[in-house]
Amino acid sequence: MLLSPPGVLFALIGTAGLALPLVQFKPNRIVTGEGIGLHALPLGLPLAAALCGLLLATCLGRWPAALRLAAAVSGFVTVILSLGLAASHLTPEGNTIARVSPASGFWLLLLAFGLMLADAVGRLRPSLAMRWLMLAAALGLVAAILASGLLDGVSVMREYASRRDLFGREAQAHLMLAFGSLGAALLVGIPAGIAIFQAPRWRGPVLGVLNILQTIPSLALFGIMIPVFGWVAASLPGAARLGVAGIGVFPALVALFLYSLLPVVSNTLAGLSGVPAATRDAALGLGMTRPQVLAQVLVPLALPVLLAAVRIVLVQNIGLAVIAGLIGGGGFGTFVFQGLNQTAMDLVLLGALPTIALALVAGIALDLLIQAAHRGTP
């Protein structure tokens, strides 16, 4: 086949991106600005031509996967560097009020090369170790670009520069919310899953309750918890000192914890139930005690399914933790909601982009762990 269908799709998205404005130039952070295309920048024409060439060339079906990967990475980096170039060129010397924000063209180009990257990695079928290396290399590359200062003129980075300390604190708070709720859910959910595995009568009621919890919209759940925990903190002596409060970190953690329980409990049950009956029978028949059967046979064999639950919960909670910003729970959501209130989209992006990156990295890393846990079994 002469044309590669995914390649054609990526090229269509990418060329549309080239035609649309790469950045928006705004005299200050609130007003709507004017869109500026890549070709209108100095050096912009050859850069645009290079990107266009890459997109068209990868339409052809005959590329080896490694070369496709190289094309995707170079395209990706070029798009990001073009953004930095636009920012440093467009911002007047010494002006700290003017903003250069990424616009639709930038996002489409990023999407085109991002898809190309994922497609190339998929075709390459790299080994597990290679995948870890690729993830590390990608993180290193992003860190290097951010540290190089090439993007410092871009609006999001300007927002970051003026909130450096706060960003660090909110990042910590976000991680604490996501991982803390995951840890608590594992501590409670795994024993609960084991318990209902051994007492089938309780499966229906327990999973039923968790299912109902899962369907409550997150904003509604926060809404319920504010008066409930507010009342508990006010009327139960000592509760407030333990951190119980209607708003802040506590209700945010509780909400994320409750949402995490269903995946953890149901996957624990599914993983344990998936162990062949003959294997369980043999373990008992050979003289293992019940705790030994659990620790040496059932849990190791259920591990891939358990890790799948960890993946679901972690990715879900990294995203959901944004809502904690609404009730003073901290995290990247703080920037998102501040930005919405001030109609400052750059500030919204300062909260949204790291959240997306975090969820993406956590998802990929856990996929790799799950694959590693599957090795050795068919």
């Binding site: 003959a278 043999a282 008992l284 050979l286 293992m288 190791p300």
Partner: protein
């Protein structure tokens, strides 16, 4: 010696095993045979207390098994099941080492025992030690399952349809190997099957069960020639019982002095093989290797109940 005394198991008031008593002598191979739902597997599982008896006793060398903690009892009794039940996340060596590790054997002794057993079951230790169960063929996995059951040198081995998942060719070989290893080690063995041919081929004693009751417990020849109930007779089938009876005895046992023409037959061959050879070559007598003959008349006499 295993003594089962008045053993019963009730589920919801219904007896799945109903007042069964039988004794297996040390070193004997007893086969529990019956249709599905006959209670044979439940009876087997009450011996290592995977099923708790409702009433009755199991004594091993005079000791009531109910006086021991169940998991300690099971570590002294080998257990192998249909579909082998190997632990898929553990290597062949780790699977075989399961019970010795539970018993806290020193590492070096465990390693030596694993290699010894692999060699006994004709699996090259160097090649198979590190393999995972999914890398084994059905026959190899079955052998590893039995090796695991024998790892801690149990005096008693329980097997539940151990050959059920094997194709006929491999099954015949596995049965021969098991019989040989059982004789060599002197292990008492109780095996469950629904296959009467397997029971006759393997058993020193056969226990026929139906509806939870023990119908007959006897040597294979007695079961064939003198079935206790119509059910037992139906289970063995009447069509080829003469041939089955012949398959139980060896040529060497009935060799008589004399001379005969043609190629000789081995003294270890079964009478069934000797009969087949007579018919095929059109002879009335065959010379036996090492002297003597076996005659068609002698075979005929052996193929009938006395």
């Amino acid at each position: 010696m295993i003594e089962i005394r008045n053993l019963s198991r009730l589920y919801d008031g219904l007896a799945v095993v109903d007042d069964v008593s039988l004794t297996v002598e040390t070193g004997q191979l007893a086969v529990l045979v019956g249709t599905s739902g006959s209670g044979k597997t439940t009876l087997l599982r009450m011996i290592n207390r995977l099923v708790q008896p409702s009433s009755g006793q199991v004594l091993i060398d005079g000791v009531d098994t109910a006086t021991l903690p169940a998991h300690l009892l099971r570590r002294r009794i080998g257990y192998a099941i249909q579909g082998h039940g190997l632990f898929p996340h553990r290597s062949v060596a780790q699977n075989i080492a399961t019970v010795p590790r539970l018993l806290g054997w020193p590492r070096r002794q465990i390693d030596a025992r694993v290699d010894e057993l692999l060699a006994l079951f004709q699996l090259d230790p160097a090649a198979f030690r590190g393999r995972m169960p999914h890398q084994l063929s059905g026959g190899q996995a079955q052998r590893v399952g039995v090796a695991r059951a024998l790892a801690a040198k149990p005096d008693l081995l329980l097997m539940d349809e151990p050959f059920g998942a094997l194709d006929p060719l491999i099954r015949a070989k596995a049965q021969d190997d098991l019989r040989q290893i059982q004789r060599q080690l002197g292990t008492t063995l109780i095996l469950v099957t629904h296959d009467m041919t397997e029971a006759v081929d393997l058993g020193d004693r056969i226990a026929v069960m139906d509806g939870g009751k023990l119908l007959q417990y006897d040597a294979p020849a007695r079961i064939l020639t003198d079935p206790a109930t119509p059910f037992v007779r139906d289970l063995i089938g009447t069509a080829d019982r003469a041939l089955r009876l012949l398959s139980l005895a060896r040529v060497g046992d009935i060799a008589a002095p004399g001379q005969a023409e043609g190629p000789a037959i081995a003294p270890g061959a079964s009478l069934r093989d000797a009969l087949a050879e007579c018919l095929w070559s059109g002879r009335d007598a065959l010379p036996v290797e090492g002297g003597g003959i076996v005659t068609l008349n002698a075979l005929r006499a052996k193929a009938r109940p006395r």
